[in-house]
Symmetry: C2
Subunit: 241 residues, 2 copies
């Protein structure tokens, strides 16, 4: 069965966490909103978002269509993929722990988003630039070190040199942490370089994920959208430092 | 086994979503950080947050201790309680849907929080009052109607007059939506009264939950902390309207 991913077609955004998992799991999927408009495109996405007769409508993209099922919310989609395609441990306690880490990553991603949109998603960056500068400063000084330091500490408690967040095997949480590092390097190159000096385990995990054959192939393909200033991780010089 | 809940002792906050589920499930639990300092209090909470030797440390409260296990992230804790204590459906697809709704509620709660803290949680409200006013206006005009309208629509597609979000039985998502209504009434009495005119199904769900014997008993007890201006839902006259 080919899964259908629905997400904004021009950005990595939250959809990227799902794409990375689908790619690593080698699941056949269509990135519907990026497909030609006849069968896909944005109209296909909005049919599910606005549809009156949709049984389990998602509040927002990304969502995944699996047969007749719709599954929304990034961490929820990853739970589904993880359980079904070997990207999460089998035991309930370990699955909850993986989910807990993913939700903490989701909180961090929200804070990254809010560095450039502290007032409202519906306003342009230019209309909240002053507030963004203030929020980004707090983010760089307090939030980013706190979140990333937390994940470094998790990795640091692992025996030996296992570069995985959960147990000794790859999980979707590892893929997501890889994406966070990628995003931070793009959006905050200066702050990121400074922070990474204290995050050797996270960098090792990042490098390990980047070298996975399927991930490497994906990153080199045109399925990987480049970072840009419409996504969550945006490079605005004035917000870095 | 008595569960141990760890959360800031003076506010409802995110811990309240867990408390409501524990109360309705009739699970014996200790609210540790609210207990006398000898065995509990804040030091007990920080032992787990800061502990070097904690296997699965939570990033932040609330977290639940079940035997030797620690479970963090509100939606994750609720998944655990829901599955184990009959507050979520048994089928995997329905459980994911319940989780999806809860994550959407969590997103809304974060946006409520950011109405009074748009710049940084580490700063006082007084230091971001101007930004808060702007953000709260966007929240009242766009975000609150969008989120609450979404849940109203979900309820509206249910057959008959079932006032439940998932299937025809009570789930933890219903308890959380009840809490959202309570919080909105407290924090934004004017905006809330206006919004509720268009949300009859949500109000019916709220009333149904409020009338559940265990919830009613809990709300009348001193275990329920009153809303106040340290929590997520805060009443600042200048942010309502």
């Amino acid at each position: 069965m080919t899964y259908e991913l629905y997400y904004w077609p021009t950005i990595q955004g939250r959809g990227e966490f799902v794409r990375l998992a689908l790619e690593q799991a080698s699941v056949p999927y269509a990135d519907v909103a990026r497909s030609p408009a006849r069968s896909g495109g944005m109209p296909a996405m909005f049919r599910f978002l606005d549809g009156e007769k949709v049984a389990h409508p998602p509040f927002a993209p990304p969502f995944l269509r699996v047969g007749r099922r719709l599954i929304g919310q990034t961490a929820n989609i990853l739970q589904f993929i993880g359980a079904r395609h070997g990207l999460a441990p089998a035991a309930e306690a370990d699955r909850l722990w993986t989910n807990q880490l993913q939700l903490t990553i989701a909180d961090f991603v929200q804070e990254v988003h809010d560095t450039h949109h502290p007032i409202a998603s519906s306003l342009y960056y230019e209309d909240q630039k002053r507030e963004a500068r203030r929020r980004a400063e707090e983010f760089r000084r307090q939030r980013a070190p706190k979140f990333l330091g937390y994940f470094e500490r998790i990795l640091d408690t692992k025996p030996g040199s296992t570069p995985h967040l959960v147990g000794s095997r790859l999980s979707y949480a590892d893929l997501s942490l890889f994406q966070v590092v990628e995003g931070m390097r793009y959006a905050f190159p200066k702050a990121s370089a400074r922070l990474e000096r204290g995050l050797p385990r996270i960098v090792a995990l990042h490098d390990k994920v980047a070298g996975l054959p399927r991930i490497a192939a994906y990153l080199a393909s045109d399925r990987r959208i480049a970072f840009n200033e419409e996504g969550i991780f945006r490079r605005y010089k004035e917000l870095d430092g």
